[in-house]
């Protein structure tokens, strides 16, 4: 982990590292089907998707990190998280860059194809988001 006063150094995470997308509403997953929806991994209208690098953390520590993120969002409740191996990011030619910006372990999924035509961009990004969502594992605080 970066020291308290150290400047964040961006690090690219490789396959095998676990990433967690914290979900602050109940619309981007199905608790009964235990599946994550593409919207959870859709970076639009931006070009980066914010996740936490949670490799090596205990379950309780992961939820604690989610609570840190929740405080940043100012939303009242952390509903769930979607865990995904960075391998699924890398295989789609995206990059998981841990930068520790805002909070320790903050990571961005970057490299979303820069496509000028909005119809094509939406289609390509939806394809990527759908694939990532299908590869993710849903975790609920009640698990």
């Amino acid at each position: 982990m970066a020291g308290e006063n150290a400047a964040p150094v961006a690090t690219e995470l490789a396959a095998g590292e676990r990433l967690s997308r914290f979900l602050f509403g109940d619309r981007h997953y199905s608790s009964t089907k235990r599946l994550v929806k593409p919207g959870a991994f859709d970076p639009s209208p931006y070009r980066e998707l914010s996740v936490g690098h949670t490799t090596g953390l205990t379950t309780a520590e992961v939820w604690s990190l989610g609570e840190v993120v929740r405080i940043h969002t100012r939303l009242p409740k952390l509903y769930a998280r979607a865990d995904i191996d960075a391998a699924h990011v890398v295989e789609r030619k995206l990059k998981a860059i841990r930068d520790d910006e805002g909070y320790e372990r903050h990571t961005n999924i970057l490299g979303w194809p820069d496509i000028e035509d909005p119809d094509t961009r939406k289609r390509v990004w939806k394809n990527l988001a759908t694939g990532l969502a299908d590869s993710a594992a849903l975790a609920l605080p009640t698990d």
Partner: protein, 175 residues
């Protein structure tokens, strides 16, 4: 006759949202009236109405939940009012044989309709403000995506793909 009403031969059948008629003749007007009456009868059937109304009610709930920017905690745009209207039309045009979708909003404000039957067995379509339909489907290792438009009803490409996945799910006992 120039009437362009959606015919019963289409997969979406009479319950589908009617295509705008180009017809101006008395026959076209009569056909239009008949279509609306028949459609109303179908919608009044409790079984048919409940699925559509359930989805529309969920859409309305989603609209309220996502009406302010940042609703997802990551700076999402609020639901787009025109995308909401287009999504209403899409839901009303769904064939009664198709299960009701799960409804959410993409972070860019488009409405997302998802049919998730299991791992790698899912169909997702995003409805945009001009009726753009961006879809992605997973059927095992087969991944298909595409862009269609709602302006003449739900495109056959989307209905066919959705039907294929729903059939697969039914065969696997997931429906």
């Amino acid at each position: 006759m120039t009437t362009a009403l959606m015919t019963a031969s289409r997969r979406s059948g009479l319950i589908a949202w009617p295509v705008s008629s180009q017809g101006r003749s008395p026959s076209a007007d009569t056909l239009g009236r008949c279509y609306r009456i028949a459609r109303q009868h179908l919608l009044s059937s409790l079984a048919l109405r409940s699925a559509a109304e359930q989805a529309l009610a969920e859409l309305e709930t989603v609209r309220k939940e996502t009406s302010a920017a940042g609703w997802d905690g990551y700076g999402a745009l609020p639901i787009d009012a025109d995308a909401y209207s287009q999504a209403r039309m899409f839901i009303q045009a769904l064939p009664t044989t198709v299960p009701a979708p799960e409804i959410s909003v993409d972070p860019d404000g488009e409405v997302a309709l998802d049919w998730m039957f299991g791992k790698s067995l899912r169909f997702s379509v995003s409805v945009g403000k001009h009726g753009r339909l961006t879809f992605a489907s997973l059927l095992g290792h087969r991944v298909i995506d595409g862009t269609e438009w709602l302006d003449t009803g739900i495109p056959a490409t989307i209905l066919n793909e959705l039907t294929a996945i729903a059939t697969e799910a039914k065969g696997a006992g997931l429906v």
